[in-house]
């Protein structure tokens, strides 16, 4: 056996490509195909979802997996009933002390915890994003179209070596082609904060000076933060797939990954009037039922998902402060379970 044969037969093996990972990657590609170039960002008043820095590609994959139905290639069979049990949401491991200008974070993550915390001001023009993970983030890549690296510096954060990169890329706001496009400059800082804990800060606007970025880095403390959108119950045997921007949470049936639950806090302009919920959704097969959640009127509709012969419930309800949220759950839930689940959903924007 020579070294090539040895590498093939006894070299490190690859983990299996899971259906979820494949679906996420495919969905990210579809999102890229559907989206215009250059990299785009919606207006701050809409969902601040796609952080299109070099470190944001995986983020895009995660987001799209949360909103695009998985490819029908997974094993298992769908659940035809569920048992609701107490559930604790994953947390983001770090806090800022102090939090600059009273900014509130929005978290992105998966079942292992939040890995991204985005702090943006209301305009979206100024802010920064924290990335935490076991591995270092890839440096902004000039091979990516539109990315330009202006400077790279070696700096220190709490005595640890860190790399600071000033870079820029094409940046668009708005939903139409070519509108509001220009360049956005970022400062990117990454370091191994502790053993196998890599932290990256990507700042823009007034937060991108070296002093600001380093101050943010030094203000990090080990204090977990709970997710903005929380649930107190979940079906036994289901787990968090992704949560994004504090507004979207997806759970998946571990035994059948094509079966999902989505909790969504839509932006005000995307909320259907209460008397038009049924006509605003796809595939309604039942009447619009008037129900009560959090002591407020809510609307429940049985739908055909149009996917793998699955049916589900669509619920539009409100938190006690009047903010609207929606649930999409499979019809493995009874009508009573949908309401029981909804009563435990909370949101802390």
């Amino acid at each position: 056996m020579n070294e090539l044969t040895a590498l093939r037969e006894a070299g490190p093996e690859a983990p299996a490509l899971s259906s979820a990972a494949r679906s996420a990657a495919r969905a990210a590609l579809l999102a890229e195909i559907d989206g215009p170039a250059p990299a785009r960002r919606r207006k701050p008043s809409r969902r601040t979802t796609l952080r299109l820095g070099a470190a944001g590609v995986a983020v895009a994959a995660a987001w799209t997996a949360a909103v695009v139905i998985a490819a029908p290639d997974g094993p298992g069979t769908p659940a035809d009933s569920v048992t609701l049990v107490d559930f604790t949401m994953p947390t983001f491991p770090l806090s800022l002390d102090p939090v600059p200008d009273g900014l509130r974070p929005a978290f992105d993550g998966d079942g292992d915890g939040a890995s991204i915390a985005a702090y943006d001001d209301p305009t979206g023009e100024h802010g920064f994003t924290l990335y935490v993970g076991d591995d270092e983030s890839p440096r902004p890549d000039e091979d990516v179209a539109g990315v330009e690296v202006a400077a790279v510096e070696e700096v220190s954060v709490d005595g640890r070596d860190a790399e600071l990169v000033r870079w820029s890329q094409d940046w668009c706001t708005g939903d139409g082609l070519g509108e509001d496009c220009g360049r956005r400059a970022f400062t990117w800082l990454t370091w191994e904060r502790s053993e196998d804990q890599w932290v990256t800060i990507e700042a823009h606007g007034r937060y991108r000076t070296s002093e600001q970025v380093l101050a943010i880095a030094r203000s990090l403390v080990d204090r977990p933060q709970p997710a903005t959108l929380d649930i107190g119950l979940a079906p036994a045997g289901w787990s968090v797939q992704f949560f994004k921007t504090g507004r979207v949470l997806t759970l998946v049936n571990d035994a059948y990954e094509q079966q999902e639950i989505t909790v969504h806090v839509p932006l005000p302009e995307d909320v259907a009037p209460a008397d038009q919920v049924r006509s605003s959704i796809m595939g309604p097969i039942g009447p619009q039922l008037d129900v009560v959640v959090h002591g407020r009127p809510a609307q429940l509709v049985l739908v055909d998902t149009g996917y793998l012969d699955q049916r589900g419930w669509f619920l539009q309800a409100q938190f006690t402060d009047g903010t609207t949220f929606t649930l999409q759950v499979p019809d493995a839930f009874t009508q009573e379970q949908v309401l029981e689940f909804a009563e435990q959903v909370t949101h802390r924007p």
């Binding site: 056996m1 020579n2 590498l7 990657a25 990210a28 590609l29 091979d143």
Partner: protein, 216 residues
Amino acid sequence: MVGLRSAHRSIDPPPDPVPLWALPSALPTDAELIARSTSEPEQFTALFDRHAAAVHRYLGRRVGDLADDLLSETFLIAFRRRAAYRPQHVEVRPWLLGIATHVVHGHERTERRRYRTLAKAAGQPEEHAADPAEAADRIDAQALRGPLAGALAALEPRDRDALLLLAWGDLSYAEIAAVLDVPVGTVRSRLHRARRQTRTALGDVSPSSDTPEETR
């Protein structure tokens, strides 16, 4: 599977070939899909469906679980660069593996750490199989795993790229040169160095012999 077929072979003359509803030759080639995708971007998804598993396997052998994220990154970059793809330069699968290789560069420390961890883990005793032949195979493989992982961790990244594109990507020298954008002679020297170091690391564990790849 072959044995099963042999055991159930019919003595009747073979039937006429059954016409396929879609002949393989009717499918667009990879290069045709890329060309079409410049005006019909959705055509690119077919390339994902064809090559995602192979790209993930290559990435997974290098970076483990991080391959899930890097698979996505590889195809996003490929899609953005599709207009620059030249079929006469290199075929699509090697092109994708070349992009994957560049993506791994951003995680070189992760990759090395994985090899070091595997090398350390390979030193731990593992359970023996009940079948003596299987047990012998496992012991052979077990003996190689640690030195191999250690050798990969010690290689220069550029040399490792060339070696793994050859060993795990099954790329030819010319294809490696194309995707790494270096002359074939440079590929040869990198492979010579990488293979020599790997062979040295294996030491007496495995006797070396030439393969057809020596002359590709």
